[in-house]
């Protein structure tokens, strides 16, 4: 495992007078796979949008570091340039823009050629408008193809396993392993159901409840078993709550 790549310290975010993130602490090392689990509306998606610099969210306390740099106030494009990437859970439609055009733009910006290597994955997607009429599975594949074109150091996958059948999930996991994990890229998997974890086996699993990471566990199977049996309610009462 490498040096610490992403460091989040006491992050607090408020939206419309409501606290969404209540002091999140997170560290991800180079080449590490971590998972973040939590119930609906626990703040997982907000956290990843904040990590990538979505201007909609205002940080009122805490800091984010990437490598040696503090990036708390960086624009999204600057963070991407440094090597961060996010696969969206529900990517928006970009009408009138072909998916191949977008991939080409990304490839030119990043000097990558991934789109050619992955042409065979879903060739019909390339000619369609970005995310317009894409099925749940197609959206996930399209996100993955863009991520690969970005040549990232850290990738956050927001619910990459939702809407994928088991065959496609296995294929996506295989690509993530081969093209990212095996090449030393750090991965943070945000998941509600945890299916992807069986394939990618995270080094550390975090549990988020009410905008705070309350548990960190190295055995993801133990976490999945507990949640399956008792739900996240058990986590809230756990005596080993993370700080």
């Amino acid at each position: 495992m490498g040096k610490i790549l992403l460091k989040i310290e006491k992050l607090k975010v408020r939206v419309n007078e409501k606290d969404i993130l209540n002091g999140v602490n997170l560290r991800i090392k180079g080449g590490e796979i971590q998972a973040l689990l939590g119930p609906n509306a626990s703040g997982k998606s907000t956290l990843v949008q904040v990590i990538l610099g979505n201007p909609k969210y205002k940080i009122f306390e805490g800091k984010i570091f990437f490598g040696e740099k503090e990036i708390t106030k960086f624009s999204p494009e600057k963070r991407v340039k440094l090597g961060m990437a996010l696969a969206w859970q529900n990517p928006p439609q970009i009408k009138g823009v072909k998916f191949s055009e977008l991939l080409e733009k990304i490839s030119i910006l990043k000097g990558s050629t991934s789109k050619y290597r992955f042409r065979e994955v879903e060739p019909q997607l390339l000619e369609r408008e970005v995310n317009v009429g894409f099925s749940g599975g197609e959206k996930k594949i399209a996100e993955l193809l863009q991520i690969l074109s970005l040549n990232p150091k850290l990738v956050i996958f927001d619910e990459i396993d939702s809407g994928l059948d088991i065959k496609r999930l296995a294929m996506v996991a295989k690509i993530i392993k081969k093209e990212l994990v095996d090449k030393g890229v750090s991965v943070l998997l945000i998941t509600h159901l945890g299916q992807i974890l069986q394939f990618l086996k995270p080094n550390l699993t975090n549990i988020m409840v009410n905008g705070k990471i309350i548990c960190k566990e190295s055995d993801f199977r133990k976490v999945l078993r507990t949640i399956k049996k008792y739900g996240y309610e058990k986590c809230k009462k756990c005596k080993f709550l993370a700080g």
Partner: protein, 303 residues
């Protein structure tokens, strides 16, 4: 659209000077004042003698597109053009007409009155491309006469807008004539007024009019799009505006006037702003805010 080889441009005018006239077999090309002097029938169509402009008379089908190019290349030039395009019965033709300023700051004035006559059974695709500098004043006023069974595809594109644009278009459609009009207009520090009117005068005449307007910084666009159904025809208006900047304003006024109980005319109009979510998404793909806006706008104009 770029005129690749000026020698093949059928009519090429720079400022007030005609640089080139290139005729093809079955196509007569003249400066419009000369055509007015030469042909009695032209004098019946154009009541006053034109000062400048083109006359193109298509008598035979040709496979290549006809090209007309009118440019302004010097400071404070004021053009006052009268253009006449006549296409004889049953002919298929494509015309690419480019009007532009060669530099951004010429304070040019480009006034153009055009009459385009599609005789019976004609099919015409007319691509009208404008590219202006930020201090120019431009006012094209075009009238199309669609005789029976003729068909027109008219594409007007202005991605480099002048300071002031007043665009008027009128279409007269006889029996079974149909038209498809597409206006794509960008604005930046511009004041733009558009008025397009289609008269469905003959039985089964049809039209579809599409307007795509982009309001960028310090721009005002006012677009009035009308269909008058005087006969049992069909028509549809689709006006769409995209506001890119908070200092921009777009007014869309679709108007349907039905004077025949068997006519069917409809419209839809919408003005939206750029989706913040789409903008953020593209920025998270490494595009700057400006690059992301440009891509979204290009997509809007494309679809």
């Amino acid at each position: 659209m770029v005129m690749k080889n000026v020698k093949n441009v059928n009519f090429w005018q720079v400022n007030h000077k005609i640089k080139n006239i290139f005729e093809r077999r079955g196509v007569k090309v003249l400066p419009s004042p000369k055509a007015w002097e030469k042909f009695n029938w032209v004098r019946k169509i154009l009541k006053e003698k034109p000062k400048e402009g083109y006359f193109i008379w298509v008598k035979k089908t040709i496979n290549l597109p006809l090209e007309a190019c009118v440019s302004i290349a010097s400071l404070k030039i004021s053009q006052n053009l009268t253009n006449l395009l006549v296409i004889e019965k049953g002919i298929k033709a494509k015309v690419n007409a480019v009007c532009n300023a060669t530099k951004n700051n010429l304070y040019a004035t480009h006034k153009a009155k055009g009459k385009l006559i599609l005789k019976e059974g004609v099919f015409l695709e007319y691509n009208h491309i404008h590219k202006w500098g930020e201090k120019d004043f431009v006012s094209p006023d075009y009238e199309f006469v669609l005789e029976k069974n003729s068909r027109l595809i008219y594409n007007y594109q202005n991605l480099f807008p002048p300071e002031n644009l007043e665009l008027k278009t009128a279409i007269h459609s006889e029996k079974n004539a149909s038209s498809n009009l597409n206006f794509v207009i960008n604005s930046l520090n511009s004041k733009i007024k558009i008025k397009d009117t289609v008269f469905l005068e003959g039985k089964n005449s049809q039209t579809v009019v599409r307007l795509k307007l982009v309001g960028r910084k310090n721009s005002q666009i006012e677009a009035m799009s009308q269909i008058f159904a005087e006969a049992p025809g069909k028509g549809h208006l689709d006006c769409q505006g995209l506001l890119v900047d908070k200092t921009a304003k777009i007014s869309l006024i679709p108007q349907l006037v039905c004077q025949n109980k068997e006519a069917q005319i409809t419209h839809e109009a919408s003005i939206g702003k750029i989706s913040e979510e789409a903008l953020t998404y593209l920025r998270m793909r490494g595009l700057t805010e400006k690059e992301a806006i440009d891509l979204i706008v290009a997509g809007f104009l494309e679809k």
